[in-house]
Symmetry: C2
Subunit: 196 residues, 2 copies
């Protein structure tokens, strides 16, 4: 095989979820059927590495020092929602139920993978949450073991500094049938039941 | 989302088998955990598009006008094996049973997808096979419907020009148990049975 093709196959394997067979298939496809796409992807990668950094306030990906969301004057500056990834933030934005600001951890605590408090920028979060304007921190990490542990850790840390901390409600999903919902979820929904 | 990130996600979708969710996950992964990999992939794509062309003789990917295999003096120039892709060629090379030359179609006939004789370089194949040195063309396209149709088409075309054409044998795979082999394969193995 030509060395440029070997190099390309090797480089494609750096993508998550791409093994040797997929990488080869991708390389062949691009060179045979979509050279324009290959050039476009090359430019996109170069530009993104060059331009995309982290927002000084919320830590999400941004091309400017502070991201558009953090600069938005219409946002409620007293609320700070903590999420694991920019994708999670997008999901919350799509619900149109939250008008506060965000802090994006860019990860979650995961001791088994060697991800500790330093790796998810908790120092930056503390500085952000203790700015004197934020009055409530809403923890919206995932409801996985790691997400829950992360929420617990952050909660303890922020409450020790006198901040009000809340967590997204757990319960039966909208449209959920009890017969098919797991017992843990129903147990939590029972404990967190609310008067109507 | 920053526009460079949007552009990168869009560009990653040009890869075969990558949908919007995977593309976003890949973009986040590269920017968060593997910027070096992103830069490497950018360079690899650029180099491959720039350097990789098709071998003038066998049509496979090559960085030189004629590929290393075609230039190899130890190869049997009287045998020409026709395969669909460079990956198929690699598989045959790994068997160490074939010492002739190759022609790589870079595809297969597939009328439903709009792939006709022109798209798989049959003019180039005819010119190559009729060089006066090649005495037998071995058809090693896949044993799928499309591969079989391609083999049939090429066979008729080359036989009309007086060339000897053969096809890889079909039969029970090595290690195959009759109970678990499909009837079509057994039928073919019965028809093609050979004396021992």
């Amino acid at each position: 095989m030509p060395s440029s093709l070997d190099f390309l196959t090797e480089a494609l394997r750096r993508l998550p979820g791409v093994g040797p067979k997929s990488a080869q298939r991708m390389a062949f496809h691009l060179l045979q059927h979509d050279r324009e796409g290959a050039s476009m992807l090359s430019r996109a990668l170069y530009q993104a590495v060059d331009n995309v950094h982290h927002c000084a306030l919320c830590n999400t990906f941004a091309e400017t020092a502070v991201c558009d969301t953090c600069l938005d004057e219409r946002r409620d500056k007293t609320l700070l929602c903590v999420v694991e990834t920019p994708a999670d933030q997008l999901m919350i934005e799509q619900t149109l139920t939250y008008k506060g600001l965000y802090f994006v951890l860019m990860g979650r605590l995961s001791p088994l993978d060697g991800v500790g408090p330093k790796d998810i920028h908790l120092d930056k979060l503390v500085g952000r949450a203790a700015d004197g304007v934020v009055s409530e921190v809403v923890l919206a990490t995932n409801f996985t073991n790691e997400g829950e542990a992360t929420a617990h850790y952050i909660s303890e840390m922020l409450k020790a500094r006198g901040l009000k901390v809340s967590r997204l409600a757990r319960g039966v999903p909208v449209g959920g049938e009890l017969e098919y919902v797991d017992a843990g979820t129903i147990a939590r929904a029972m404990l967190d039941r609310r008067s109507t």
